[in-house]
Symmetry: C2
Subunit: 226 residues, 2 copies
Amino acid sequence: MLRNLDIGLSQANRQLVAMAGLVEEAIIAATHAWRQRSTARIQEVYAIEQRVNQAHIEVDSECVKLLALQQPMATDLRQIISLIKINTDLERMVDLAVNIAQNTEYFLKSPPVISTEDLSDMSDEVRVMVREALDAFVQKDERLARSVLLRDDKVDQYKRKIFDDVLAAMRRDPACIEQGLNVILIAKNLERVGDHATNVGEDVIYMSSGKDVRHSGGASPGVTRR
Amino acid sequence: MLRNLDIGLSQANRQLVAMAGLVEEAIIAATHAWRQRSTARIQEVYAIEQRVNQAHIEVDSECVKLLALQQPMATDLRQIISLIKINTDLERMVDLAVNIAQNTEYFLKSPPVISTEDLSDMSDEVRVMVREALDAFVQKDERLARSVLLRDDKVDQYKRKIFDDVLAAMRRDPACIEQGLNVILIAKNLERVGDHATNVGEDVIYMSSGKDVRHSGGASPGVTRR
């Protein structure tokens, strides 16, 4: 027989998976917005954010209810704590997608003068991180979660290259300054999306193994040059 | 007679208050670093971060222990959930102080050419937000927590003004580009410190009243232009 706790946990899990799907959509829409120079995609991001905010409150309240009424122990308790943390990370990710959409509004104000090839590659890598982190969570796959953690370095490398190249372009041609700044801010926001995917990966590892792997690799994920 | 739960809660609270003190120190050191052009202050930020990371893990593990062993209800449960969330926000704040210290390393590479008066005013305002948020938490003062939420608008105004002025300076004189970019990134990081102070304020309101005030004021705190 299923315990009430199991029913509640599946319910919270389902809610979070649905929310994760929305967050991924928002990140894809935000990326397409500047790649395809599409204002419709920008609006899509804003619309998805509203739904994610609602889901964020619902998941939190479901988790608190489970803690209050079911008094979970050990693995169940770890899982609920992880759900609460992943919920926070997902909500921040959608905020970052909104930031990227807003950067893109500025970015689209002038015809393209700055190359965004590296930014495209960086966003592909970040999207893979997000996908892997969410898959790791859904499948409770610790190995996949660890793969997310490894990708973070590559994302940071892209970001550093974009910073250097865009700065050089801005110096060469002051007409690039505003657009260059928006490219840098998009890269910065993408990097932070990657940081949150890393957090989710760490939470999945904690959820499945009880091991706290945060702060174990030198700098924490939120901390990168610039 | 004190319950074990009360003893545990005071212990977790004390740990978090000590950690909050360190985070505030880190933010002050990061701000002084660029104001006083001091590399010693930069190193101080990095040293404090290590201690905060350690505290972060300890508070989390204390809270999970309380949930597992004491099966808290109602107000106690809300308080533990809030401690877990505030703990996350404090850890992110110290990451941002480290980011500011890193921006400052670049910033100090050239003699000052960009005015940082508004940035100083902005950092004063953010420090007040952080102080009020931590005081609200220590004193469980819902009114003070609400005052933090109101200050966030002013911080965003400063940031927008800094963006506009620095962009204009960069356009006028390309020699300002690199330094201008670092001023913008410091402002962006300060704004995010303010966002986390807002989160702490919201958690304090939830802790004392059970009201979830997130996502109630239109855009969420993490979401601001650019």
